[in-house]
Protein backbone atom coordinates (compact mmCIF):
# COMPACT_ATOMS: atom_id res chain seq x y z
CA UNK A 1 0.00 0.00 0.00
CA UNK A 2 2.72 2.58 0.77
CA UNK A 3 4.19 1.92 -2.70
CA UNK A 4 1.05 3.30 -4.28
CA UNK A 5 1.63 6.55 -2.36
CA UNK A 6 5.25 6.68 -3.51
CA UNK A 7 3.97 7.00 -7.06
CA UNK A 8 2.72 10.45 -6.20
CA UNK A 9 5.98 11.44 -4.56
CA UNK A 10 7.84 11.05 -7.86
CA UNK A 11 4.98 12.05 -10.13
CA UNK A 12 5.67 15.04 -12.36
CA UNK A 13 2.00 15.62 -12.99
CA UNK A 14 1.37 16.43 -9.31
CA UNK A 15 4.46 18.34 -8.17
CA UNK A 16 4.84 19.42 -4.58
CA UNK A 17 3.54 22.93 -4.15
CA UNK A 18 6.23 25.36 -3.14
CA UNK A 19 5.28 28.69 -1.58
CA UNK A 20 8.09 30.48 -3.40
CA UNK A 21 11.13 29.75 -5.58
CA UNK A 22 14.52 29.47 -3.91
CA UNK A 23 17.10 30.61 -6.47
CA UNK A 24 20.50 28.96 -6.02
CA UNK A 25 22.56 32.05 -6.50
CA UNK A 26 22.33 35.77 -5.97
CA UNK A 27 22.38 37.82 -9.15
CA UNK A 28 25.10 40.41 -9.61
CA UNK A 29 22.66 43.29 -9.80
CA UNK A 30 19.15 44.05 -8.51
CA UNK A 31 17.06 47.21 -8.92
CA UNK A 32 16.26 47.08 -5.21
CA UNK A 33 17.26 44.94 -2.25
CA UNK A 34 15.15 44.50 0.87
CA UNK A 35 16.91 43.37 4.03
CA UNK A 36 14.51 41.29 6.11
CA UNK A 37 11.85 38.87 4.83
CA UNK A 38 9.26 39.51 7.48
CA UNK A 39 5.74 40.65 6.72
CA UNK A 40 6.90 44.20 6.01
CA UNK A 41 9.81 43.30 3.73
CA UNK A 42 7.79 40.79 1.72
CA UNK A 43 4.79 43.10 1.46
CA UNK A 44 7.04 45.89 0.15
CA UNK A 45 8.49 43.52 -2.46
CA UNK A 46 4.98 42.48 -3.52
CA UNK A 47 3.70 46.02 -3.97
CA UNK A 48 6.91 47.06 -5.76
CA UNK A 49 6.30 44.33 -8.31
CA UNK A 50 2.54 44.72 -8.52
CA UNK A 51 2.06 48.51 -8.42
CA UNK A 52 5.36 49.93 -9.61
CA UNK A 53 6.59 47.34 -12.11
CA UNK A 54 9.84 46.85 -10.21
CA UNK A 55 10.35 43.10 -10.00
CA UNK A 56 14.13 42.78 -10.23
CA UNK A 57 14.14 42.74 -6.43
CA UNK A 58 15.86 40.50 -3.88
CA UNK A 59 14.61 40.04 -0.33
CA UNK A 60 17.48 38.85 1.89
CA UNK A 61 16.70 36.97 5.08
CA UNK A 62 19.26 35.88 7.68
CA UNK A 63 16.99 33.13 8.99
CA UNK A 64 13.69 31.85 7.48
CA UNK A 65 10.89 34.11 6.29
CA UNK A 66 8.69 35.50 9.02
CA UNK A 67 11.04 34.28 11.76
CA UNK A 68 11.10 37.62 13.52
CA UNK A 69 8.21 39.67 14.82
CA UNK A 70 5.92 38.47 12.03
CA UNK A 71 5.98 34.95 13.42
CA UNK A 72 5.73 35.94 17.07
CA UNK A 73 2.98 38.53 17.45
CA UNK A 74 -0.50 38.14 18.91
CA UNK A 75 -2.03 38.95 15.51
CA UNK A 76 -4.41 41.77 16.44
CA UNK A 77 -5.52 44.14 13.65
CA UNK A 78 -7.06 47.47 14.60
CA UNK A 79 -6.96 51.21 13.93
CA UNK A 80 -8.24 52.73 17.18
CA UNK A 81 -5.23 54.97 17.67
CA UNK A 82 -4.86 58.38 19.26
CA UNK A 83 -3.29 60.77 16.74
CA UNK A 84 -4.71 61.78 13.36
CA UNK A 85 -1.50 60.61 11.64
CA UNK A 86 -1.66 57.22 13.35
CA UNK A 87 -5.36 56.69 12.74
CA UNK A 88 -5.16 57.47 9.02
CA UNK A 89 -2.20 55.16 8.62
CA UNK A 90 -3.59 52.14 10.52
CA UNK A 91 -7.07 52.61 9.05
CA UNK A 92 -5.64 52.08 5.56
CA UNK A 93 -4.06 48.88 6.83
CA UNK A 94 -7.33 47.59 8.30
CA UNK A 95 -9.00 48.20 4.94
CA UNK A 96 -6.25 46.37 3.06
CA UNK A 97 -6.48 43.40 5.43
CA UNK A 98 -10.18 42.94 4.70
CA UNK A 99 -9.59 41.71 1.14
CA UNK A 100 -6.08 40.42 1.62
CA UNK A 101 -6.95 36.71 1.58
CA UNK A 102 -8.52 37.15 -1.84
CA UNK A 103 -5.69 39.34 -3.14
CA UNK A 104 -3.04 36.85 -2.07
CA UNK A 105 -5.15 33.77 -2.89
CA UNK A 106 -4.33 32.28 0.50
CA UNK A 107 -6.55 31.73 3.51
CA UNK A 108 -5.19 34.10 6.14
CA UNK A 109 -7.84 33.06 8.70
CA UNK A 110 -8.74 36.73 8.87
CA UNK A 111 -11.64 37.13 11.26
CA UNK A 112 -13.32 40.37 12.30
CA UNK A 113 -14.17 39.90 15.97
CA UNK A 114 -14.69 43.31 17.52
CA UNK A 115 -12.08 44.78 19.87
CA UNK A 116 -12.74 45.94 23.44
CA UNK A 117 -10.23 48.00 25.44
CA UNK A 118 -11.53 47.77 29.01
CA UNK A 119 -11.22 50.73 31.35
CA UNK A 120 -11.01 50.00 35.07
CA UNK A 121 -10.58 53.58 36.31
CA UNK A 122 -11.99 57.05 35.63
CA UNK A 123 -8.77 58.32 34.08
CA UNK A 124 -8.65 55.35 31.75
CA UNK A 125 -12.29 55.82 30.79
CA UNK A 126 -11.50 59.43 29.87
CA UNK A 127 -8.68 58.27 27.60
CA UNK A 128 -11.02 55.78 25.94
CA UNK A 129 -13.57 58.54 25.36
CA UNK A 130 -10.85 60.71 23.84
CA UNK A 131 -9.79 57.91 21.47
CA UNK A 132 -13.41 57.18 20.52
CA UNK A 133 -14.05 60.81 19.60
CA UNK A 134 -10.85 61.22 17.56
CA UNK A 135 -11.57 57.93 15.78
CA UNK A 136 -15.14 58.96 14.94
CA UNK A 137 -13.93 62.35 13.72
CA UNK A 138 -11.68 60.59 11.20
CA UNK A 139 -14.27 58.07 10.04
CA UNK A 140 -13.06 55.09 12.06
CA UNK A 141 -15.69 53.06 13.91
CA UNK A 142 -15.04 53.29 17.64
CA UNK A 143 -17.27 54.17 20.56
CA UNK A 144 -17.36 54.18 24.31
CA UNK A 145 -19.64 51.44 25.68
CA UNK A 146 -21.06 50.62 29.09
CA UNK A 147 -20.36 47.47 31.15
CA UNK A 148 -23.75 46.03 30.11
CA UNK A 149 -22.77 46.06 26.44
CA UNK A 150 -19.42 44.46 27.26
CA UNK A 151 -21.18 41.67 29.17
CA UNK A 152 -23.48 41.01 26.20
CA UNK A 153 -20.54 40.53 23.85
CA UNK A 154 -18.49 38.65 26.43
CA UNK A 155 -20.71 36.75 28.88
CA UNK A 156 -17.78 35.01 30.58
CA UNK A 157 -16.09 38.24 31.65
CA UNK A 158 -16.22 39.00 35.39
CA UNK A 159 -16.96 42.73 35.29
CA UNK A 160 -16.23 42.96 39.01
CA UNK A 161 -12.63 41.78 38.52
CA UNK A 162 -12.44 40.17 41.93
CA UNK A 163 -13.67 43.36 43.57
CA UNK A 164 -10.75 45.74 43.51
CA UNK A 165 -10.81 47.20 39.97
CA UNK A 166 -14.24 46.71 38.35
CA UNK A 167 -14.73 47.43 34.66
CA UNK A 168 -16.26 50.89 34.21
CA UNK A 169 -16.63 50.83 30.43
CA UNK A 170 -14.65 50.13 27.28
CA UNK A 171 -13.54 51.49 23.94
CA UNK A 172 -15.37 49.28 21.44
CA UNK A 173 -13.83 49.05 17.97
CA UNK A 174 -15.94 46.79 15.68
CA UNK A 175 -13.36 46.50 12.84
CA UNK A 176 -10.88 44.86 15.24
CA UNK A 177 -9.76 41.51 13.80
CA UNK A 178 -7.26 38.67 14.10
CA UNK A 179 -5.44 36.69 11.39
CA UNK A 180 -2.87 33.94 11.06
CA UNK A 181 0.34 35.93 11.15
CA UNK A 182 2.59 33.35 9.46
CA UNK A 183 0.18 33.10 6.54
CA UNK A 184 0.53 36.85 5.91
CA UNK A 185 4.28 36.39 5.37
CA UNK A 186 3.77 33.30 3.19
CA UNK A 187 1.00 35.00 1.19
CA UNK A 188 3.04 38.12 0.44
CA UNK A 189 6.16 36.02 -0.17
CA UNK A 190 4.43 33.70 -2.62
CA UNK A 191 2.69 36.53 -4.47
CA UNK A 192 5.94 38.51 -4.71
CA UNK A 193 7.83 35.45 -5.92
CA UNK A 194 5.20 34.79 -8.59
CA UNK A 195 5.85 38.31 -9.88
CA UNK A 196 9.59 37.80 -10.21
CA UNK A 197 10.91 38.82 -6.80
CA UNK A 198 13.71 36.60 -5.47
CA UNK A 199 13.60 35.52 -1.82
CA UNK A 200 16.95 34.43 -0.40
CA UNK A 201 16.87 32.83 3.04
CA UNK A 202 19.93 31.97 5.15
CA UNK A 203 21.57 35.03 3.61
CA UNK A 204 22.93 37.53 6.11
CA UNK A 205 23.90 41.08 5.21
CA UNK A 206 27.36 41.87 6.54
CA UNK A 207 28.06 45.22 4.93
CA UNK A 208 26.55 48.03 2.88
CA UNK A 209 28.69 49.67 0.22
CA UNK A 210 28.43 53.42 -0.13
CA UNK A 211 29.89 55.91 -2.57
CA UNK A 212 29.51 59.69 -2.52
CA UNK A 213 26.79 59.52 0.12
CA UNK A 214 24.71 56.95 -1.74
CA UNK A 215 24.17 53.19 -1.76
CA UNK A 216 25.93 51.19 -4.47
CA UNK A 217 25.80 47.66 -3.14
CA UNK A 218 25.53 45.08 -0.38
CA UNK A 219 27.87 42.43 1.03
CA UNK A 220 26.24 39.20 2.16
CA UNK A 221 27.40 35.83 3.47
CA UNK A 222 26.60 34.45 0.01
CA UNK A 223 28.25 37.07 -2.14
CA UNK A 224 28.10 40.71 -3.18
CA UNK A 225 25.27 42.53 -4.90
CA UNK A 226 25.21 45.78 -6.83
CA UNK A 227 22.09 47.83 -6.22
CA UNK A 228 21.01 51.49 -6.05
CA UNK A 229 18.21 51.00 -3.52
CA UNK A 230 18.25 49.23 -0.16
CA UNK A 231 15.44 48.96 2.38
CA UNK A 232 16.20 47.91 5.93
CA UNK A 233 13.11 46.14 7.33
CA UNK A 234 14.56 44.11 10.19
CA UNK A 235 12.78 45.48 13.26
CA UNK A 236 14.72 44.27 16.33
CA UNK A 237 17.97 43.99 14.35
CA UNK A 238 17.80 47.55 12.99
CA UNK A 239 20.62 48.97 15.17
CA UNK A 240 22.98 46.35 13.73
CA UNK A 241 22.18 47.39 10.15
CA UNK A 242 22.24 51.10 10.96
CA UNK A 243 25.73 50.69 12.42
CA UNK A 244 26.86 49.58 8.94
CA UNK A 245 25.85 52.97 7.54
CA UNK A 246 26.66 55.02 10.64
CA UNK A 247 23.16 56.39 11.20
CA UNK A 248 22.08 56.79 14.85
CA UNK A 249 18.52 55.93 15.82
CA UNK A 250 16.49 56.32 19.03
CA UNK A 251 15.66 52.59 19.06
CA UNK A 252 15.86 50.55 22.24
CA UNK A 253 15.40 46.80 21.90
CA UNK A 254 13.29 45.05 24.53
CA UNK A 255 11.86 41.52 24.48
CA UNK A 256 8.08 41.25 24.11
CA UNK A 257 6.60 37.98 25.31
CA UNK A 258 3.43 36.09 24.43
CA UNK A 259 1.84 32.73 25.18
CA UNK A 260 -0.96 30.40 24.09
CA UNK A 261 -3.16 28.03 26.05
CA UNK A 262 -4.33 24.58 25.08
CA UNK A 263 -7.21 24.63 22.54
CA UNK A 264 -10.68 25.24 23.97
CA UNK A 265 -14.14 25.11 22.41
CA UNK A 266 -15.03 28.52 20.99
CA UNK A 267 -16.23 30.80 23.80
CA UNK A 268 -14.46 34.14 23.31
CA UNK A 269 -15.81 36.05 20.32
CA UNK A 270 -14.25 39.49 20.69
CA UNK A 271 -10.65 40.55 21.33
CA UNK A 272 -10.36 41.71 24.93
CA UNK A 273 -7.71 44.19 26.04
CA UNK A 274 -7.47 45.44 29.60
CA UNK A 275 -5.86 48.87 29.75
CA UNK A 276 -5.23 48.76 33.49
CA UNK A 277 -4.11 45.13 33.78
CA UNK A 278 -2.04 45.63 30.65
CA UNK A 279 -3.02 42.40 28.89
CA UNK A 280 -4.69 41.34 25.63
CA UNK A 281 -6.38 38.06 24.79
CA UNK A 282 -8.19 36.55 21.81
CA UNK A 283 -9.25 33.05 20.84
CA UNK A 284 -7.70 31.81 17.61
CA UNK A 285 -9.44 29.64 15.00
CA UNK A 286 -7.61 26.69 16.58
CA UNK A 287 -9.33 27.41 19.89
CA UNK A 288 -6.18 28.50 21.69
CA UNK A 289 -6.20 31.68 23.76
CA UNK A 290 -3.47 33.93 22.37
CA UNK A 291 -2.27 36.34 25.04
CA UNK A 292 0.27 39.03 25.67
CA UNK A 293 1.03 41.70 28.23
CA UNK A 294 3.50 44.52 28.79
CA UNK A 295 6.94 44.90 27.23
CA UNK A 296 9.84 43.37 29.18
CA UNK A 297 11.11 46.01 31.59
CA UNK A 298 14.75 46.10 30.47
CA UNK A 299 16.64 46.12 27.19
CA UNK A 300 17.73 42.70 25.93
CA UNK A 301 18.45 41.31 22.47
CA UNK A 302 17.09 37.85 23.17
CA UNK A 303 13.69 36.31 22.39
CA UNK A 304 13.72 34.36 25.65
CA UNK A 305 10.56 34.15 27.77
CA UNK A 306 10.27 34.09 31.56
CA UNK A 307 8.15 32.64 34.35
CA UNK A 308 7.71 36.18 35.63
CA UNK A 309 5.80 37.14 32.51
CA UNK A 310 3.39 34.20 32.43
CA UNK A 311 2.78 34.43 36.20
CA UNK A 312 1.90 38.12 35.98
CA UNK A 313 -0.31 37.62 32.93
CA UNK A 314 -2.13 34.62 34.45
CA UNK A 315 -2.75 36.50 37.68
CA UNK A 316 -4.49 39.36 35.90
CA UNK A 317 -6.27 37.13 33.36
CA UNK A 318 -7.90 35.16 36.16
CA UNK A 319 -9.34 38.37 37.55
CA UNK A 320 -11.14 38.85 34.23
CA UNK A 321 -11.97 35.18 33.54
CA UNK A 322 -11.80 33.19 36.81
CA UNK A 323 -13.08 30.01 35.16
CA UNK A 324 -9.77 29.67 33.26
CA UNK A 325 -7.86 28.62 36.38
CA UNK A 326 -7.68 24.99 35.17
CA UNK A 327 -6.53 25.79 31.64
CA UNK A 328 -2.92 24.96 30.77
CA UNK A 329 -0.46 27.26 29.06
CA UNK A 330 0.82 25.32 26.08
CA UNK A 331 3.69 27.46 24.87
CA UNK A 332 5.36 30.80 25.57
CA UNK A 333 7.91 32.74 23.56
CA UNK A 334 9.39 36.17 23.02
CA UNK A 335 10.52 38.43 20.20
CA UNK A 336 12.55 41.62 19.84
CA UNK A 337 10.57 44.86 19.94
CA UNK A 338 12.38 47.91 18.57
CA UNK A 339 10.91 50.70 20.68
CA UNK A 340 10.81 54.38 19.75
CA UNK A 341 10.38 57.28 22.20
CA UNK A 342 6.93 58.17 20.79
CA UNK A 343 5.62 54.64 20.04
CA UNK A 344 5.31 55.49 16.35
CA UNK A 345 7.31 53.82 13.57
CA UNK A 346 10.31 55.16 11.67
CA UNK A 347 9.66 55.00 7.93
CA UNK A 348 11.03 56.59 4.80
CA UNK A 349 14.27 58.04 3.59
CA UNK A 350 17.54 58.47 5.46
CA UNK A 351 20.43 60.92 5.01
CA UNK A 352 21.98 58.31 2.67
CA UNK A 353 20.75 58.32 -0.93
CA UNK A 354 19.00 55.11 -1.84
CA UNK A 355 18.94 53.81 1.74
CA UNK A 356 15.46 53.52 3.19
CA UNK A 357 14.31 52.49 6.61
CA UNK A 358 11.26 50.69 7.95
CA UNK A 359 11.73 50.25 11.67
CA UNK A 360 10.58 51.32 15.10
CA UNK A 361 7.74 48.82 15.06
CA UNK A 362 7.96 47.94 18.74
CA UNK A 363 4.77 46.24 19.76
CA UNK A 364 2.60 47.57 16.92
CA UNK A 365 4.01 46.16 13.67
CA UNK A 366 1.81 43.28 12.55
CA UNK A 367 -1.38 45.29 12.04
CA UNK A 368 0.51 47.67 9.75
CA UNK A 369 1.92 45.00 7.41
CA UNK A 370 -0.18 45.82 4.32
CA UNK A 371 -0.03 49.62 4.58
CA UNK A 372 3.69 49.46 5.31
CA UNK A 373 4.29 47.37 2.19
CA UNK A 374 2.23 49.73 0.09
CA UNK A 375 3.75 52.97 1.38
CA UNK A 376 7.35 51.74 1.45
CA UNK A 377 6.99 50.41 -2.11
CA UNK A 378 5.78 53.85 -3.18
CA UNK A 379 8.65 55.48 -1.29
CA UNK A 380 11.29 53.26 -2.89
CA UNK A 381 9.84 53.57 -6.38
CA UNK A 382 9.48 57.36 -6.26
CA UNK A 383 12.39 58.14 -3.94
CA UNK A 384 9.87 60.23 -2.00
CA UNK A 385 7.95 59.33 1.16
CA UNK A 386 4.30 58.39 0.68
CA UNK A 387 1.99 61.07 2.22
CA UNK A 388 0.76 58.64 4.91
CA UNK A 389 4.28 58.08 6.26
CA UNK A 390 5.69 61.62 6.10
CA UNK A 391 4.98 62.17 9.84
CA UNK A 392 7.04 59.03 10.67
CA UNK A 393 10.33 60.18 9.19
CA UNK A 394 13.61 59.50 11.00
CA UNK A 395 14.31 63.24 11.07
CA UNK A 396 11.28 64.00 13.26
CA UNK A 397 13.31 63.48 16.46
CA UNK A 398 15.86 66.21 15.83
CA UNK A 399 12.94 68.52 14.98
CA UNK A 400 11.09 67.50 18.16
CA UNK A 401 8.05 66.61 16.02
CA UNK A 402 7.12 63.36 17.74
CA UNK A 403 3.87 61.49 17.02
CA UNK A 404 2.89 60.35 20.52
CA UNK A 405 0.99 57.07 20.39
CA UNK A 406 1.99 55.41 23.67
CA UNK A 407 -1.62 55.50 24.86
CA UNK A 408 -2.91 53.58 21.88
CA UNK A 409 0.02 51.66 20.37
CA UNK A 410 0.98 49.94 23.55
CA UNK A 411 -1.86 49.14 25.94
CA UNK A 412 -2.77 52.59 27.08
CA UNK A 413 -4.22 54.09 30.19
Amino acid sequence: MPYQLLRFAFNKQYPENRMFRCPDQLKAHYDAVIIGAGGHGLATAYYLARDHNISNVAVLEKNYIGSGGTGRNTAIIRSNYLTAEGIRFYDESVRLFQDLSTDLDLNLFYSQRGHFTLAHSDATLRTMRWRAEVNKHLGVKSELVSPEIIQEFCPHLDLNCNGHMPVLGALFHPPGAIARHDAVAWGYGRAASQRGVEIHQQTEVIGIKLKSGGVIGIQTTRGEIETPKVLSAVAGYTPKIMQMVNIPTPLEIHPLQACVTEPLKPWLDPIIVSANFHLYVSQSSRGELVMGAALDPYALHSPRSTLDFVEGLAGHLLELFPFLSDVKVLRQWGGLADMTPDFSPIMGKTPIDGFYIDAGWGTWGFKATPVCGKTMAYTLANDDPHPLIVPFSLSRFEKYELVGEKGAASVGH
Binding site: T238, P239, K240, M242, Q243, P248, T249, P250, L251, E252, I253, P297, Y298, A299, L300, H301, S302, R304, D308, D338, P341, F397, E398, K399, Y400
Partner: protein
Protein backbone atom coordinates in the same frame (compact mmCIF):
# COMPACT_ATOMS: atom_id res chain seq x y z
CA UNK B 1 14.97 33.38 39.70
CA UNK B 2 17.36 35.98 38.39
CA UNK B 3 19.37 37.79 41.06
CA UNK B 4 21.02 41.18 40.99
CA UNK B 5 23.57 42.52 43.45
CA UNK B 6 22.50 45.83 44.95
CA UNK B 7 25.69 47.64 46.07
CA UNK B 8 24.10 48.45 49.45
CA UNK B 9 21.68 45.58 50.11
CA UNK B 10 23.37 42.62 48.43
CA UNK B 11 21.77 39.92 46.27
CA UNK B 12 18.05 40.49 45.68
CA UNK B 13 15.58 39.06 43.10
CA UNK B 14 15.58 41.13 39.92
CA UNK B 15 11.85 41.85 40.37
CA UNK B 16 12.87 44.26 43.15
CA UNK B 17 14.74 46.43 40.66
CA UNK B 18 13.71 48.92 38.01
CA UNK B 19 15.67 49.54 34.79
CA UNK B 20 16.68 53.18 34.48
CA UNK B 21 17.94 53.21 30.91
CA UNK B 22 21.45 53.39 29.50
CA UNK B 23 24.11 55.47 31.25
CA UNK B 24 24.87 58.34 28.90
CA UNK B 25 26.99 61.49 29.30
CA UNK B 26 24.97 64.70 29.04
CA UNK B 27 26.24 67.58 26.86
CA UNK B 28 26.20 71.02 28.57
CA UNK B 29 22.58 72.17 28.02
CA UNK B 30 23.45 75.87 27.95
CA UNK B 31 26.06 75.68 25.21
CA UNK B 32 25.26 72.67 22.99
CA UNK B 33 23.31 72.99 19.74
CA UNK B 34 19.66 71.90 19.38
CA UNK B 35 20.82 69.00 17.27
CA UNK B 36 23.34 67.81 19.87
CA UNK B 37 20.65 68.07 22.53
CA UNK B 38 18.12 66.10 20.43
CA UNK B 39 20.82 63.50 19.82
CA UNK B 40 21.34 63.18 23.59
CA UNK B 41 17.61 63.08 24.40
CA UNK B 42 16.54 60.60 21.73
CA UNK B 43 19.36 58.64 20.11
CA UNK B 44 20.67 55.45 21.63
CA UNK B 45 23.42 53.00 21.01
CA UNK B 46 20.85 50.30 20.29
CA UNK B 47 23.16 47.44 19.31
CA UNK B 48 23.77 44.46 21.61
CA UNK B 49 26.84 44.39 23.85
CA UNK B 50 28.11 45.17 27.32
CA UNK B 51 26.39 48.34 28.46
CA UNK B 52 26.56 50.60 31.48
CA UNK B 53 23.02 51.13 32.78
CA UNK B 54 21.21 52.92 35.57
CA UNK B 55 19.24 50.61 37.85
CA UNK B 56 17.09 51.41 40.88
CA UNK B 57 16.37 49.20 43.87
CA UNK B 58 12.66 49.78 44.50
CA UNK B 59 12.67 48.50 48.06
CA UNK B 60 15.44 50.80 49.32
CA UNK B 61 15.66 53.64 46.82
CA UNK B 62 19.27 53.01 45.80
CA UNK B 63 20.29 54.19 42.31
CA UNK B 64 23.39 52.46 40.96
CA UNK B 65 25.24 51.48 37.78
CA UNK B 66 25.17 47.95 36.38
CA UNK B 67 27.40 46.61 33.62
CA UNK B 68 25.28 44.09 31.73
CA UNK B 69 25.64 42.18 28.49
CA UNK B 70 22.44 43.02 26.59
CA UNK B 71 22.79 39.94 24.38
CA UNK B 72 23.24 37.26 27.06
CA UNK B 73 21.60 39.13 29.98
CA UNK B 74 24.69 38.43 32.10
CA UNK B 75 25.20 41.07 34.79
CA UNK B 76 28.94 41.61 35.05
CA UNK B 77 29.04 43.93 38.05
CA UNK B 78 27.17 46.65 39.89
CA UNK B 79 28.48 49.68 41.75
CA UNK B 80 27.38 53.06 43.04
CA UNK B 81 27.90 56.07 40.74
CA UNK B 82 30.50 57.46 43.17
CA UNK B 83 32.56 54.29 42.75
CA UNK B 84 32.56 54.41 38.96
CA UNK B 85 36.06 55.91 38.72
CA UNK B 86 37.42 52.85 40.60
CA UNK B 87 35.98 50.50 37.95
CA UNK B 88 37.25 52.24 34.85
Amino acid sequence: MKLMHCPINGWRPIQEFSYGGPFRPMPPPQTCTDQQWANYVFNRDGAAGVKKEWWYHLASGVWFIAERNTLTDEILRTYLFQEMKLHE
